[in-house]
Structure formats: structure tokens, C-alpha cells
């Protein structure tokens, strides 16, 4: 589950999930849903694999979103499905989506960067919660 929260100039994103893998998947969906309207309507026709080695969950979360943003910017990919697995500190994510098409994918925001500002990734009573501010 994800929701937006207030920040004066930019956009705060809060994600909750029961597992860390689900947290990352939901965060990916939330990120692309911040870029365009109706991400659920994107067909999973293209596939890309993302691998990140990082033991610290906060930095992993940050690097994951940064990588996804780069995939959008450089390869114009809109990703809507995420299959995530861990082997020790190595995360492997199979991501599916389609190419961004301005005529079909209505724009919401340009995300300049994922920021470190009040970045939080924690586990609380069995649930994972993350908060991140996106520079718009």
C-alpha cells in the first residue's frame, strides 16, 4: 500500500507492506504511478532485470528507486510488475512493463531525484514501512 504525504516543495511517499520484498515492489509501483496516470493500464510486454548488492535496507531501498528512475529516464520504460528475490545481500528484481508513450501515458510529475531527506525504512510490529521524499 502507498500514499502521499505533505512536503512544502516536493512529494512525500509512504509505503507499507508485510515483507521487505513486497515493500520494494510496492515502492516501485508507487514511483511509476507518480510519473504517469493509470499505471495499472500498462501492459507487461518488456522485461528488465535489476540487481543490487547492499546489506543496509535503507540504502538498498534508496538505490532501488534511483535505479528505477534511471531506467525511466534513459530507456523510457514504465514498469508495473516487480518480482523480487534475495540471496544474502543481493537483490534480484525481474521488472515488467512497457515503453513510455506520451500519447497514451498521461504525465503526472517529473521526478528529479530520490532524496535522502528524512528517508526511513523500518520494521514495526511485523510490518515494513518506508518514507521517502521525491524531488519534483
Amino acid at each position: 500500500m502507498y500514499e502521499y504525504f505533505d512536503h512544502t516543495a516536493d512529494l512525500g511517499l509512504r509505503i507499507t507492506a508485510t515483507t521487505f520484498e513486497d515493500l520494494l515492489a510496492e515502492a516501485g509501483f508507487a514511483l511509476f504511478s507518480t510519473l504517469v496516470e493509470n499505471l495499472s493500464g500498462v501492459k507487461p510486454q518488456r522485461e528488465v532485470t535489476v540487481e543490487i548488492v547492499q546489506a543496509n535496507p535503507v540504502w538498498l531501498f534508496f538505490d532501488w528507486l534511483t535505479e528505477l528512475l534511471f531506467l525511466f529516464e534513459s530507456r523510457h520504460l514504465l514498469l508495473c510488475q516487480f518480482q523480487i528475490q534475495f540471496c544474502d545481500s543481493k537483490m534480484t528484481a525481474i521488472c515488467r512493463g512497457d515503453s513510455f508513450c506520451p500519447k497514451n501515458n498521461l504525465q503526472k510529475h517529473e521526478i528529479k531525484a530520490i532524496t535522502y531527506h528524512e528517508l526511513k525504512v523500518e520494521q514495526n510490529e511485523g510490518n515494513w514501512i518506508a518514507e521517502v521524499i521525491l524531488d519534483i
Binding site: 506520451p102 517529473e110 519534483i136
Partner: protein
């Protein structure tokens, strides 16, 4: 998520300046000084921006005070509207947070010889053509692509690179801050990712609060300065607001990553980890400076190509060459940058300092050697964008800016509503229709973006400008109102 109101001390110095004393918290090396009036002071304390001013006061080598302009609001590490100068000879630091993600985001203003009555019949067509011709919005590639080798030359040379390719004039260059190039740029300091993001984005507008706006000069306040700048009432102008696009964002991102351990390495106490920094003369500091300068040069080229494309559209719509329309540049200013500048440091001595301006604009007074010759008698034009429904301003730098704020003034209106609050406020409203009813044509890639950028989301720019005018930082020259705007 907001930490809520600032509850620390604020002492009134005079009608336009409030102080956070350095006794407020451990680690503060200087006071904080915030340029607001009594009306803005209440708004000031609604978020943690003053706390950020106090945090910046802890940075090593900081001179005089940690400063903030009246358009202050909450940012990352530094507040937006924040200014600080550090002395590298005293271990002064350089901080990417004091520049921002959008390195050299800034404003360019261009005049024409068109009266608003000549433009009005063609306005819809003009705005439609600008919207379809200028690449704006997410995922848009520019009309100019540069191979890696060429891009590196562009990063090193700035606008002169485009001059050599017939995409700029000598006058464009002369009337750009730093003449469109910071010497000492190091393109090799950029990551492959930054290069990849920049290769196809030069000459694109971006999104969010970036815009190209057709404006008309509504009111002249200083006739002498207006004459020197080439401004007349009812004259149609174009204002461009954009920055270094994905290349700059990536440079900042890479730098923050590289500086993760720097504070600890150099024994720097940081009250906020977002103030990631390194001594300016360290390896890490020099690396960031070289990359930041390259990104700044990219931004100037970005605005130059946006201007070039705008000139082409005007020429097409009005049926004559842009030179015959006298679409000459007034000036171009950066409002997210760090510059190595010579400033007075007390006891009548001068030093070169790293002046960080994050959401703040340089405002050099008359006789400053960095100004173009034709402006030297009067001072530097300062370009202040309003929101799309109100006004923008041309000011002129004043001597008190050198005395009080390292030659700096405000940069815009400053947000008061978050994006979510702005959208809530706009619910059920058609912002573009509201603007049209006031005679302003707006075209935007994102309806949500338009809703987030409506006038009520921002402070009153006239009020902000009045504060810097009264504080003696910069003087009012002309007020411009929007006729039409394109946004990404």
C-alpha cells in the same frame, strides 16, 4: 511527515531582518539572518526552514551569517532561499545541498519590439506553437542531440560552444551570468549516467515549476534602469525558467553518494546529514566543484537552446526574422549555484569565498567588474519569476546586497502550500479555464502539474519583492504580467 512549526528564537533586527542568535544551538559558528517583514515572520515559523538556517550556521568556514531570503521555505539540508559563504582558507566547505539537485536552475529574459496589442490576436497560435515545438514534460528528448565527445566540449565551454555552432549570439553570451561558462569545469568528473541523461536533454524544458512564459511589461518603477536594460511599458517579453535537467540531477545525486562518509573523514559535525559536504580544497570538494561547474554550463546551454527554439517560433508566427523582432536577451541568472567570488570580510579586506545560493539570485550593484559593460553604470538585472497567474519582476542589484548578503537577493515567490494541499485546494477547479478568464493562455503536459502550480500555492511575489527592495538588496525596475505560458 512535516516536523511542524519552528519554535526557536527569532529576534527582530529591523523591519526586514530577523536573527537566530548563534547561542540557539551547539555548533552554530555564526548567527542566522532571515530577510522577511513582520507579515512573513508568522508564515516563516510554519515549517522547519529557520531550523535549517541554524543548521547551516554550523558549517566550517562559514562567514558573517547563515542567510535566507524572504521566499524561504523548507528544503533538504539548506532551506530554499538559503545563502552561505565559506572561506576555503579556514577549512570552508562546499555542499551540494547548498546548490540543489537542479544545478543552475535559473531564469532568462528576452525582449521583443512587439506591443502587447500586436501579440494578442496571435496569442493562442503562438502558445500552441511554443507548446508543440519546445520539448517539455517527462520522457521528452530534445531536438539537439550531442555525441559524448561533443557533449564533453559543451560541458567544458558552456554557451561559447553553441556560439561556435551558430546557436547563440555574442550578445546572448555577454548578457548571461558568468557569460554562460564557469571556468574549471571537469566533464570527466561526471558519471556515465549523468552523460547519458544529458546527451538528449539539452534544449528541453522539463516539468514541475519550469516554464516558458510570454509576458508584457505592465509597470515601470525605475525609468533609468529600464532604459538601460531596454525595457518599455507594453513591450512583450519572454521568460524562460529551466535548469540542468537530468544531467544536473545526476551530478547532485552522485555527489551526495560520494560525500556520504566525508563529514566523518574530515571531522565535520553535521546537525543534519543532508548538509553533506567536504572542505572545498579537499579531493572530494574539488571533484564536486568540477562536476558542478560542468552541470552549470549545461544549464546555460539548455536555456540558450530553449531561447533559440523560441526565437524560431516567434519568427514563424510573426513572419519575420527574430532579429527584426529585436528578440534580444536582457539577462540570464542562476538561482541554484555555488560561485567562487571576491567579497569583503570585515576590516576592509577582501577574500574569495564559496558563495552558495540555493533558491537565491546574484544581485551585483553598479560598477561591479563582472557586469556587461552596458549595464555597469546601473547594476545587474535580477529576474524574479512569479507563479503563472500573477507577475514576474525585473529588479536591479544594489550596493547593500554586497554588504549584507554576499551580493544576493530572492529568487521567486516561494511555496506555501504542499503539492498535495495545492491539488486539494484546486479540486473541482479548472485552473487553465480560470487563467483564460483572466486573459492568460496556459498549456501544460500535466493537468495535475497545473493544479499544483496555481497562485494560491505560492507566496505573493509582489510582497517578496517589496521586502528585498526595502531591505536595499535589489531595487524594483519593472513588473511583468503573463499573457501565455507553457509548462511541462
Amino acid at each position: 511527515m512535516s516536523k511542524g512549526a519552528y519554535k526557536g528564537p527569532l529576534e527582530r533586527i529591523d523591519d526586514y531582518c530577523w536573527r537566530i542568535p548563534k547561542s540557539y544551538k551547539d555548533g552554530m559558528r555564526v548567527d542566522g539572518l532571515i530577510y522577511v517583514d513582520s507579515t512573513l515572520v508568522d508564515q516563516l515559523c510554519s515549517d522547519q526552514a529557520p531550523e535549517q538556517v541554524a543548521n547551516v550556521a554550523c558549517l566550517p568556514g562559514i562567514q558573517m551569517a547563515s542567510l535566507a531570503m524572504p521566499d524561504i521555505h523548507w528544503g533538504y539540508g539548506f532551506c530554499i532561499g538559503g545563502v552561505c559563504a565559506t572561506d576555503p582558507e579556514q577549512g570552508g566547505v562546499i555542499s551540494p545541498g547548498g546548490v540543489g539537485y537542479d544545478i543552475n536552475c535559473g531564469i532568462r529574459l528576452v525582449r521583443t519590439n512587439l506591443h502587447c496589442s500586436e501579440v494578442k490576436p496571435h496569442l493562442q497560435h503562438l502558445i500552441d506553437r511554443l507548446f508543440s515545438s519546445l520539448p517539455c514534460g517527462i520522457g521528452k528528448e530534445g531536438n539537439y542531440h550531442f555525441k559524448k565527445k561533443e557533449l564533453k566540449k559543451l560541458l567544458e565551454q558552456g554557451v561559447p560552444f553553441l556560439l561556435n555552432r551558430g546557436l547563440a549570439t555574442e550578445l546572448d553570451l555577454q548578457r548571461t551570468e558568468a557569460q554562460g561558462c564557469l571556468a574549471g569545469a571537469e566533464p570527466d568528473n561526471l558519471s556515465e549516467r549523468a552523460i547519458e541523461r544529458g546527451a538528449k536533454q539539452c534544449g528541453t524544458l522539463g516539468s514541475g515549476n519550469h516554464f516558458v512564459e510570454v509576458q508584457v511589461i505592465d509597470q515601470i518603477f525605475d525609468q533609468k534602469a529600464a532604459t538601460v536594460f531596454g525595457l518599455e511599458q507594453h513591450m512583450v517579453c519572454v521568460m524562460i525558467h529551466s535548469g540542468s535537467r537530468g544531467l544536473g540531477y545526476q551530478v547532485c545525486d552522485d555527489s551526495l553518494r560520494q560525500l556520504r562518509g566525508a563529514a566523518s573523514k574530515y571531522g565535520i559535525y553535521l546537525p543534519d546529514q543532508q548538509l553533506a559536504c567536504a572542505p572545498a580544497n579537499s579531493h572530494e570538494g574539488k571533484h564536486y566543484i568540477g562536476a558542478m561547474r560542468a552541470a552549470a554550463n549545461f544549464a546555460w546551454c539548455n536555456r540558450q537552446l530553449l531561447l533559440w527554439q523560441t526565437r524560431e517560433v516567434f519568427s514563424e508566427v510573426f513572419g519575420r526574422a527574430w532579429e527584426h523582432l529585436q528578440m534580444f536577451q536582457i539577462y540570464d541568472v542562476a538561482h541554484n549555484i555555488a560561485k567562487f567570488e571576491r567579497h569583503a570580510v570585515g576590516n576592509n579586506s577582501f577574500k574569495k569565498l564559496w558563495v552558495h545560493r540555493k533558491g537565491a539570485t546574484r544581485a551585483f550593484p553598479a560598477n561591479h567588474p563582472e557586469l556587461p559593460e552596458e549595464y555597469r553604470q546601473i547594476g545587474q538585472p535580477v529576474l524574479i519569476p512569479g507563479d503563472m497567474g500573477t507577475a514576474s519582476w525585473v529588479l536591479v542589484g544594489q550596493p547593500k546586497s554586497m554588504e549584507k548578503t554576499f551580493g544576493t537577493t530572492c529568487h521567486g515567490a516561494g511555496r506555501i502550500l504542499s503539492r498535495t494541499a495545492a491539488v486539494k485546494e484546486a479540486r473541482g477547479r479548472l485552473i487553465d479555464q480560470e487563467l483564460l478568464e483572466r486573459g492568460i493562455i496556459a498549456r501544460a503536459q500535466s493537468r495535475q502539474g497545473l493544479a499544483e502550480e496555481h497562485s494560491q500555492a505560492y507566496k505573493d511575489v509582489d510582497h517578496i519583492v517589496e521586502v528585498v527592495h526595502q531591505a536595499g538588496l535589489s531595487k524594483k525596475v519593472a513588473r511583468l504580467r503573463p499573457m501565455g505560458v507553457i509548462k511541462g
